[in-house]
Each structure stands twice: as C-alpha cells, then as structure tokens.
Symmetry: none
Subunit: 315 residues, 6 copies
C-alpha cells in the first residue's frame, strides 16, 4: 500500500497591498502547482494576504507614536482580511476548483487587533482551521497581536495517493510561522500532536533559515515545507520605506526567498529557491516518518517524560 502525496511550496509575495491582485496570484500559482506538477497541497508564505510591511516603523519610537504611524497602521489594518470574508470565499473557491489543499499566510483582522495567521483550506471541507502566530518578532510586536492556545491545530486531511489513485492517504498538517519555528516548546507540542507535514510559512530569507528547517525535519521526523516570500521594491506601494531611500530601485530585493521542502531524515527534496517567484514540488513518501522515528522520536521513545514534562494550557 503506497502512501505518497505531491506537495508544493509557493514562493511569491503580496501584490503591492492589492487584495484582488494578490488573490489572483494565489489562483494563478495554485493552478500552476496543480497543472504543471500534479500537486495536492500548496503552502503560501507568511503574510501573503495582507502583506509584510518590511522596513516600516509605523512611526513608533520608545514612548511615542506619530499620527502618520497611526494612519499607516490604519491602511495596513484595512488591507487585512477577516475570517470569514469574501477573500476567504475566493480562496475556498480556488481550493475547490483545483482540488489543492491550501495553507496560506494571511494578516487576519479581528476587532481592533491584527494577527499573523495561517489558514488551512480543504478542497472538500473548505476552511478547516487556522493558526495565529504566537509571538511576533521585534517590530512586528507593534502591529500584530499574539495568538492563543486555541489556534494551534493539527489538521488531519485526506488526499488521494499520488502513486496509487485508488488509495486514500491521510496526513496531519500543522503551521508554524517564521520565528515561531525557534520556539522549542511549540515544536514539541506539534510533534506530540503527530504533525507529519510541518508547514513553515515565513519571510525569513537568511541563509541560516535553511539550518533551522533541516534541524526541525530531523528533530521532529516530519516533512518540513517552508514557503518564503520573494519580494522586490516594485512589489510594495511607491511610498513604502526601503533600506536605502536614496537608491530606490524597483528590482532591489526586499525579501530573498529560500523556500524548501525537506524529508524527515533531513534530505532536501526541493529547493531552496533563491532566484524569484516560483513553485517547488516534491513527492512525499509518508512512510519515511516511521522510518525516521525508528531511532528518534522525541515525543516517544526518545523522550524523558520522567524529567521533562511539557504542560500545555488551553491547547
């Protein structure tokens, strides 16, 4: 009995804060993953819907916020989407029509607070869950709230086996966004819930990111699918801050990508993609997970529950 699925990470970016254009991109790249690669699952980057305001300060210094900063926040606030919303309906429609399960980084608006969220959309079931980033990093703390224990789902999804169409394959998915991936207790929580396809939407394009992705695959004995934004100055609104204002250039890279797919034994199956927008696809043999856990199962035979016990509250 085979146990394979085909999965993609999509490297792209928000279309200059235009929701419609960004949703068009989502549709175009999902169709590409499906038609070119036969993909069944596609992971989009952090903040893909809503945008990642790289280089912004929102007018904040310690002890002061400016009126312009508040207006900038207002624009960003309006660019975010609610759940549910027409944008979500559009995403569900793309999933339904292509048959591709989608994991998409969005900026979620809930009351007066924004969250950096990943949503799970199933072709048949529609919207099946969301994860809100638990801990924003540095200046992100100015604009995003903290997710809670109620949005840490591990979603069991059904796929057709990519090798033997007649057989159904079930896989457990989770999402961990950007530097959350450095939280050892969060990862342990997901491992303990049995995550098999560990999705890591991000905007971290440092080379060091690759080490962490490989480490997690090895530590958790899971497939790691990291989708990073690739963005240039032209992908942002005209007035957006850049690293060097005196040398604005539409081609200057703002976020350099690095999307990658890694197996439970640390083998890079696809990527890292560093050159621009693109879709990476790999075939995942889910049996590799058991193969890997033979000698390391950090929430099983390789744990020391007598010494270390992870208490989780509310999750």
């Amino acid at each position: 009995m085979t146990n394979f699925i085909r999965a993609s990470v999509v490297q792209t970016c928000t279309a200059a804060y235009s929701l419609t254009d960004t949703l068009d991109r989502l549709e175009r790249l999902t169709v590409l993953a499906k038609e070119r690669d036969g993909s069944q699952l596609a992971v989009f980057p952090e903040a893909f819907i809503g945008g990642y305001p790289k280089m912004s300060t929102f007018g904040a210094v310690v002890g002061e916020r400016s009126a312009q900063g508040r207006d900038e926040f207002l624009r960003y606030y309006k660019a975010a989407i609610e759940l549910p919303s027409p944008a979500l309906e559009r995403i569900k429609k793309v999933s339904r029509e292509t048959g591709v399960f989608l994991v998409v980084g969005i900026i979620e608006r809930d009351g007066g607070t924004l969250y950096c969220t990943a949503i799970f959309v199933d072709p048949n079931q529609g919207f099946v869950g969301k994860h809100r980033k638990l801990m924003p990093t540095a200046s992100e703390r100015l604009i995003w709230g903290q997710g809670g224990p109620d949005t840490l789902p591990v979603i069991e999804a059904q796929f057709a086996s990519s090798k033997a169409e007649e057989t159904g394959v079930s896989a457990k998915l989770s999402a961990t966004i950007c530097w959350e991936n450095y939280m050892p207790l969060l990862r342990t929580f997901y491992y303990s819930k049995g995550t098999q396809i560990y999705c890591a939407p991000t905007v971290d394009a440092r080379p060091a990111w690759q080490h962490t992705m490989t480490h997690i695959a090895l530590e958790g004995r899971c497939f790691v699918l990291s989708a990073c934004q690739f963005a240039q100055e032209k992908d942002y609104p005209a007035e957006h801050p850049v690293a060097d204002v005196s040398a604005r250039n539409p081609e200057t890279v703002m976020i350099a990508g690095g999307s990658v797919i890694i197996s439970p034994l640390g083998k890079v199956l696809a990527g890292p993609l560093l050159e621009g927008e693109g879709v990476l696809t790999a075939e995942l043999d889910l049996d590799d997970i058991a193969r890997g856990k033979f000698d390391l199962d950090v929430v099983g035979h390789y744990a020391r529950n007598d010494i270390f016990h992870l208490e989780t509250t509310g999750a």
Copy 2:
C-alpha cells in the same frame, strides 16, 4: 482610632544612565520626603533605575534589526539591575535608614530578557516583592519581556499612624506601571485583592493621564499615587536620540511629569506637578476607602458576579 499615613510621589528621572548617580538621587529625594514632609512612603517613576530610552528605536524596522541596535540594546541591558544585586542593597539601605517604604520603578535583568519592574522595599523587612509590567507598549515590546502572574503582589505594609504615633496602621499596596493602568482586568484583580494604595509609576506625561488616574481612584475607591519621570535632554547620554536632532537643547523636555496623588473619591490631594523634579506629599486618611465603598465597591456589592467572573490563572 486614627488611620492616617503620609505618602509621597517623587518626580525625577534617571541620571544619564548612571546607576550610581541615579541611586544618589533616590537617596537624596527619599531623605527630602522624610525630612521636609514627614513621609512614610515614596513612589518613584517607571524605569527610574535603568532608564527609559525615550525616542530610541534600537535599530528595529519590521523584518530587520541592525548591529548598532543590538549594541544599543547591550548597553541598555548592562544598565539594568538584577534582583538581588548591590543596587538593591543600596535601595534597602536608604529605606532602612530613612524609615520610608519605597516603591521604585526599575529595569530588571533576568537572563537574556529585561523587564520593566516595580520593587517594594520595606524599612524593616527589606525587599518584600516586585511587580513586572505585564504588557509593554509599542516599541517597548522590542526591549522588555512580559511579566507573569507570579509578580502581581498586593503587599500589606505596616506604618505608624501619621496622626497618632502610638497606633499602627496597615495598608495594602500594589503597583501598576504606565499603560498597564488601561488594562481593566488587571485593575479588577488588584481591587479584588484589596489594594488601598494603588501606585502607578509611569512615563506617560500626556494631560489625558490625569483623567485615567482620577478614574481609577473613583473606580477602585483607592488612593492613586502616580509618579512620572520629568526628564530633559541633558538627563540622557549625549548621543541619545531626540525628537528633533537638528535642535538639540539640554533643556528640552523629554518627559514632562504630571505626578499626582488622588483620594478614593477622586479628589486631587497633591499635584499634578508639571514644572520639574520634585516631591509631592499628602496625608492619606485610609478611612476614606470605606467611606467611598459605601456607594461603589466594584468587587463587592457593586459587582455582578452572576454575569461577570474574572478568572485568573497563576496569580
């Protein structure tokens, strides 16, 4: 049976990030409160020890931190104090020698993280508790961690009655730092623990702060003692960022004060002090709390526990 104590709020600021000079200030102003005003309790502003890096950005923009920002953080990190530490010993000594109970805003270093903390120092008992700010505001989130439920003490302290020396007076003190004061559930928690002298160290010098302080006194039927920093450019290191770099002026006010003492029925007993450094002292008639709770006790006869129940975890 009289029930009076004399209490002060001290309006001052950190001495250009010099710990020794700042501790000297603490001693000088505590002695003043004691000798001039007969004070038994003195509240110092937020971040008095360690400093409030107003206007700093620590080199952070969304998605990036600079090496200079990291170095600025390192300097700030080193300016903070640990608990216990020689600095704490010095503060305990000042309290012991003057007989003044001290509530002092400090920057506390614990491992790799800094906290914005208020410490309680008793003339006889020494260090009796601390409160770490629960939620930093805006850019403060770059430099301070979040306090936890284990540092929300309401401290019962013993004083001699300021009107009848032979009689002991017991009073319950709490500390809430800067915009924490806008957290209704935190305030409710303190009310439910019986806070009588609600200390509010701050650096918020907006006129609107006065409204909030009066409101809290009325809502909680407690004495509110808000100590704000008063700081000018000369109180910061030479290279410190300022609002207008092109017009550096040692006399320019960075934090404008507004320290105030308010009674449980909303009467301003002293202040607001807006002109500079200074010590405000008032006599607190603790019986005003019962007089005030006659018609409003938001955690007693004026609560609706059947509808609203505040659950607290870990506190």
Copy 3:
C-alpha cells in the same frame, strides 16, 4: 473610502413626569439634531422617559417603608412605560420620520418591577434592542431591579456616510447607564463585543464624570457619547423633594448636565455642555478606532488572556 457619521448627545430632562410632554420633547430635539446638525444618531439621557426622582427617599428607612412611600412608588410605577407600548410606537415614529437612530433612557415597567433601561431604535428596523442597567446605585436600589445578562446588546447599525452619501457605514453601539460605567468587567465585555459608539446615558453631573468618560474612550478606543439630564426644580412636579425645601426655586438646578462626545484617543469633540438643555453634535471618523487600537487594544493585542479571563454567564 470615507467612514464618517454625525452623532448627537441630547441634554434635556423629563417634563414633570408627563409622558406626552416628554415625548414631545424627544421629537422636538430629535428634529433639531437632524435639521440643524444633520445628525444621524441621537443619545438621550438616563431615565428621560419616566423620570429620575432625584432627592426622593420613597419613604424608606432601614427596616421600614411608609404608606406614602408606597404611593410615591405607585405614581412612579405608572409613569414608567412597557415594551412594547404606545410610547414606544411614538419613539419609533420619530426615528422613522427623521431618519435618526435613537438611544433613549427610559424607565421600563415589567410586571411589578421597574428597570432603568436604554432602548435602541433604528429608523428602518424600529426597536432593535434594549439594555437594562445592571446595578442601581444607592437609593436607586429601592426602586429599580437589576438587569440581566440577556440585555447587554451590542447593536450593529447602518448609516449613510456623512461625508460620502453613496457609501454605507456600519457601526456597533452599546449603552451603559450612569455608574455602570464604573464596572470594569461590564466595560470589558462591551469592548470584547466590538463596541465602537459607547453610549453613556447618565444623570451624574459631577465634574469627575468627565474624567471617567475620557478614560473610557482611551481605554476602550471607542467614541463615548454621554448624555446627561439637565433639570431644574420646575421640571419636577410641585411636591417633589428638593435639596432645600425652605428655598424652593423653580430655577434651582437639580441635575447639572455635562453631556459630552469624546474620540477614541481621548479628544473632546463636543461639550461638556453645562449651561442647560441643548444638542451637541460631532462628526465621528470611525477610522480613528483602528488608529487608536494601533497601540492599545485591551481585548486584543494588549490583553493578557493567559492570566486574566473574563467569564460571562448568560450573555
């Protein structure tokens, strides 16, 4: 996309306990708000319909009620209105004909008990909800029952944008009556439900009230519309008790007003009105709410749900 509405607070009082005259006043002042100010929303004071029996004791002392007190209650009971009732029909008609959304303080009769209630009347939808004051203050406990969790609505209403007529604006309204405004858990409940236009009908004319209104605007990042009664001795029946019976004077002020409109960042947009009857109107830029929540959202990014959890029962 503009997001403005024009809203009024109406400072007036009950017409000597005459229901007809009071409803005439409601109509006259609503028309004024509409025609003079272009208002789309008008908030009337606490107990406007039915009356606020200031200075009455209803013959009650601890342990005794007098027959005269029972008769006084009977008169007051009969002056109250039921829901539905012809009086409500009249209010709905005023709303429908002027196009002004009304929030009106009434005394509601339900069985043998009276409630201090605020009703919400929509020009198109008619009566859309009511809030019963949860906790009467002091002597009010003799005459009013306590509201329950079933009457804590946050009403989403539709308005035309006051700046761009073609665009619809949606806003969430709540009502909190007089000293209920001091209940931190009630306010938190409303914040959590997303109130944007926080209506505060009152008869509290103390100067301190202004502090609390400003604080709430800042704490909740919402517009606060407080409508207070302005009443003189002549506005009460001849025999009504007054502060100084030996110096009855028709012009003596019984309730001194103080109606006010405040923005989410604590700016007073109109008022406080202290001189007598009147209508205050301001243009509300609803985007100021998001601008304000940028750095404070006490039910979102500025909450500590891990420590403090507000349980509500039945609401």
Copy 4:
C-alpha cells in the same frame, strides 16, 4: 431509638453597637439556654453582632449621598466583624465551653462590602459554615452586598439525643435571614438539600411574620426556629434616628420581637415571644419530619419535576 434534641431561639439585640457588650450578651444568654433549659442549639437574631441600623438612611436620597452618611457608614463598617476575627474566636469559645451549637446573625465585613450573615459554630468543630443573605430589602441595599451561591450551606451537626443520652442524633441545619424567607426558590433549594432545622434569624416583628413561619414549617415539613431582635431606643447609640425624634424615649420599642419555634406540621412549640429579651426552648422530635412528609414532600413525591425544574448555579 429516640431522636430528640432541645433547641432555643434567643430574642435579644445588639448592645448599642458595642462589640464587647454584645458578645457578653451572647455568652450570658447561651449559658442561660444551657443551664436553665438544657439546650443544645441556640439561634440568635439577624445582625445581632454588628447591629441593625433601624431608621437610618445613611444620608442617601435618589441621586445623592451626604458626607455625614458616608461617616455613618464608616462607623457601621467598623462595627462589623471579619471571618475569622477575635470576635469569632470568642463565639467559638462560648460554644465550646457550653456545648451549645450556635447560629448567629452577624454583620460581616469583607473588603469594602458588608454582608448580613449567619454563622454556624459547632462546640467541637468550631466555625463550620456561613450564610450570607442573598437579597437585602429596601434601604438595606444601601449598606449590604448580596450573598452568593457559595454561602448556602446545609450543615449536618451531631447532637446527643436529649431523651436518651447514649444515642447520637444527626440533624441538618440551614439559615435564611429575614425576607429571604419570602424567596420561594431559595426555600425550595434548602428543602432539596434536606434541611431539618430551618433557622430564620430576623428583625421582622410584624404579626404577619408568624403566618410566614408557620407556612414554611408546613410547606417544608421542617422545624422552623425564628429568632427576632427585641430592641428599644436605649439599645441604640444616643444619636441614632428614631421614628419620632420629638419624643425620644429610652423605653420605646424599635424592634418588637416575635421569636418562635414551630413543628413540621405547623404546631407552635414555643412563642411567639413579644414582651422583651428572652430565651425560648423546645424539644424537637426529629421523627416528626418523616411523619409530615408522608403526605407532602414538595421536593419529593409532591413535586412535579416534569414541569418545574429548579436550576441552581454555583450552589
């Protein structure tokens, strides 16, 4: 096997708000019940410790509280006792030394709020429970908070049989204070918990009270022990308000008594006592309860649980 106990109701009053004198009275009358009547259980009136401020208004009219009223409240607040407290220790000592189980009406101070409470004190176990009055009546709402569902105990106590010393008798006791006795759902709750000795401390001295006491005995098939205060003007402080200030007379009756003991079939076993201070004692044959429930058990065979279901929250 006999099943008898001897029980008393004590008719007395607070000693001019003197705690020490009032506790002396408690001791004197308990000793009397024990030595003269062989009593094993004594019920004292509502507000016996702390006092019932009959005829006071605490300076409250609708919409206003006076400074004098607040001071009056302060005095009353200080006259109340906390649990635990030295006063409670004294009561426990009286119980322990006499061997009499005590049910005593007190004014309980808890934070800023007072409660009208009945405490249960066992000779061997000490303080075993308390009941806070759920709903103050009329002007009482100015000074007392509302009890909650956590203070509705039905206490199982052990007695020696008064007829056959060698046999232990177990009996369930509850307390319902003054007009709480008119709350049908509260009574039903106590019946459902099996109350056998229904204690009703009160200050209601109207003749109509006797009807209600008899009705409850019949309805609940329980022994009813109602202890009322008997108080004259001389039992209050000199300045205390009275019905007719122009005719102050130390002998004028303020609260007229009416203490009574009634059997489960409505037979008056002792009292009503109308003439002054005194102790009434009766022998209770607990088997009368079963005899009475033969044809009426409103929480058993005579209930209609299919139609009426009493939901209780928190109790």
Copy 5:
C-alpha cells in the same frame, strides 16, 4: 385613575352529588354576590361541581380493590362533568346573565380519568380556560389524575372599575387548588406570569390554612381569594362514610370552611368565614400590588436569577 374591582369568595358545597341542584346553588349564590355586594368576580370551592368525597376509601387497600369500591368510583365518575357539556353551558349562562366572572372548582371527566379542575368563565367571552390540579393529595390519588403544564393559565380579564364605571380595569387571574398551594415552584410560576388575583379553591379547613393564605399574599404581592367548602353530613348522600358512623348526624360538619380574601400586603379584607355557607366580598385596589412590589417582587427585583432559575417544561 382608579383601579378597583369587587370580588367574592363563595363558601358552599355540592348538593349531595346532584348536578342540577349544585348548579342551582351556583346560580343562586352568584346572583347574591352580584345583587347584594355588587361583585364582579366570584370564586367557588374545589370540587364544587362533582363533589369532594370526603371520608371515602373507594374500597382500596394496598394490593387490593373491592368491587364495591369500583361501583363507588363509577357513581363518582358519572357525577363529574365534561368540557364542554350542558353543565358548562349553564355556568356560562349564569356568568353572562349576572355579568360576574366565575372561577369554579369542578370534577372534570376526560375519557376514563377524572381531574380536579378549576374553570374560568367570562361574562362576555364565555369559557376562557381551565386549570387541572397538578398533584392530588394522599387518597385523592386513587380517583384523580394529575394535571399537566398545558392547564396553568393566567387569564387576563376585563372589568369595569368598581369605583369609576367609565374606566376599564384589567386583571390577571390564576387558580391553585388546595395543597397545590404548598408547591413553591408552581406559585413562582404563577407569580412570574403576573398573577394579580390568585384564586385558591380548597377543601382544607384547618386553621393552619389561614397562615398559608396570608403567606402567599405577602410572598406573591397578590390578592388571594380562597373559597372553601362548608359541608355537613346532610350534604352528602345517605350512605356516604363519615368520621363516626355510630353517630351520624346531619348537622355534623364535614368540611368547616374558612374562605378568606387577603390583600397583597397581607391584610385580611374579608373572612375567614367559619360559620356556614356564605358569600364574602371585598373591594380590591389593584394598585396595592405595585405598592407591595415596591419592596418585594420575588420574580423581579427580589429574585436571584443568577443562582436560581425555574425551568418550566410545556407551560
């Protein structure tokens, strides 16, 4: 605006199980109430039509029923009336012709079961409702079924004001039969439905009944109209069992009456009538209900809905 009606309780009994004679009595006594007393409402006792078989056993012992008992039941069954029926028509005619609203205790036959029922007959509307006793007492359980939640009406009836003929008065009526009056949840249900004229047809002639009637008036703040049978041996068929068969005496009282009318503040307005057949009439000032609820409304301001919630099923 006056708010008075005149109401009667009729003390009488069934005419030796003769339906015709009993209906004649009904007519005669209704006319008397109308003509002598100007009554607008008359309440007749429990089981007035059909009879109350006092002292019967219907031949039942535990485990056995006799043939004679069956025959006795047959006779009783035939004496009962159906709804509708000619007997009902006769009653409606009496009401219509006298203008008196009637509340009449009957034995209702429905299929093979008898019910102890009270019917409501309006002069203008005719038969407007019925209440079947929910819970028969003791041996009544041999002959009567249990009513259900569908027969618990509170009937709003229209009267002319007895003091100002031009004004219509509306009043809410309920019926509770005999020991149902001891069911606290049933009473609470009626209170919650707003009963104002609480009719209590009964055959309970114990003195203790008076306590319960007064208690209910006080508890429910409603008028209580209790109509009891007055029956002698001569009012039963010759062969009917009696207390002392050896001393049969036509004058011996079987049911001793005690009909009474009580105001919402517990004042006895008429009766108790203990001497024989008769009609008691009183003027009811319906405003006394609001006067009374001023300080006690057990389903309004004096309830604790947060703790005690009465669920009713089917009613």
Copy 6:
C-alpha cells in the same frame, strides 16, 4: 568593559581503548590549545575516555545474547573509568597545569552500569560537575544506562578576559551529548538555566549535524562548541568490527569529525573540521549573547509561558 574568552574544540579519538595513551592525547592536545591558541577552555568529544565502540553489536539479537558478546562488554566495561579515579586525577592535573577548563566525554562506570558522561574540570576548582547522557541512541541502549535529572548541571566558571587580563569573566557552561541535542525539552531546560557556552561532545559526523548545531546556536542565543571524534580503523583494536570486513584498511575513516564553534547569531566562528585530528579555537564575545537575545529569548520575552510550561522533575 570587555567580556571575551578563547575556547577550543578538540577533534580526536580514543587510542585503541588504551586509557594511558588516551590521557596522553588529552594532555598533548590541551597543551596545544593553550600554547598555540591561548585557549582557556577545551571541549573533547563524546566517549573520548573509554571509547565509542562503533560497529559493535555485542552479540545481541532480539531474544538472544551470545557469550562472546558478553565478553566484549566486559572489555568495554573495564576500559571505562570511575569518578573519582586516578584517571580523573590525571585530567585535573592537566587542567590545573595548563589553566585550561576542560569538558571531556568519558565512559563512566558506576556499579554494573556504564554511562556516557561529560565531565567539567576547572583549573582551580578541579572536578566541578558531570552530565550523564539522558538517552542513548539505538544500539547504545545495549551498553549505556540513562542519565538522570541530577546530572544536568549548568556550571558557572571564572575566566580571565582574553582581551583585558585584569578583568574576570564569568560564563555558564553546559554539556549535551550527541543526539541528546535533538531533545527540545532538554535544550529548553539548559536555556532556562542560562547556558552561555553550550558544549556538544558527539560522534555524529553526518553533514546534517552542522544544521542542528547552527540551529541550536540561533535558538538558544548561545555559543555552541561541538567536538566530534575523528577516528580511523587504526584507532580501534585489531579485532574491532568494521563496515567492510573484507576490506580492512587502517586509514579508513570510522568517524569523520565535523567539530565546529558557532556564535549566538549563527555565525560559524571555526570549523567545521573534516580532515582529521585537530584543535579549533575561537574568541567568544560573551556580549553577543545579549545582542542576540535582543530579538529572541526563547526562555524570556519570546516564550509563551501561559501556554507552554516545562515541568522538570528532580533537576
């Protein structure tokens, strides 16, 4: 104030199970680190003293062990050292004489069980602690026991600053052996204890190891010093099993090295060393830890203690 130390990782292997020869190697390489590189700290690989029996099976199959396997274990058992022991004395002497703090992988014999241990030896304090590997991997479970919570020290050591000799530098060290490094809860424990110099003795020479080492540096914001064995067939006894028995070659690499030193921001300071035996040294700027924790402190500001709580037992 400078804060630098110089530290080395030593890549070498056990000398054909000869204790004396291996201790000689330890001395030779420590002297080299000191004299050539000015090192103050040297980390030796896992199982350096005692040996890592790569390719051995110890004659075990499921359900059977062979006599030869038992003998092989006996030899291995004898090659291990006890604590204390002459071998430890020798190591202490090397440390004392060179002034180099040593962290050394050993096989520790304790009773009948062997442990894979790392010892900490201070030039001045001598033996200051040990860590026993918590969880052997795969076949290691045949020969090594599991360490317990009592051997998880974080050792605070004193160094002279490598840049300013007059100043003392304090640093916290920990040891984690081989695949223990994949245990997220163990790492979190060490982070929470403040480890600054995270020593990772290992025999894992896979390229993937580098990812994990870099990840840990980034995750823990600590210096990572990984010392791996480099061993060839000639470094084992003649009869030792090898990968290809038919092609025994003294030069064939058995363990391929990969020792490395990485900074808290993920920068590789030295290594990885892949070519053979050697000593790598780097200067560690301990202030880089605070610089790094500025934006990530997984046990401080970047933790979510409200959700995830690491309970440790016995440590």
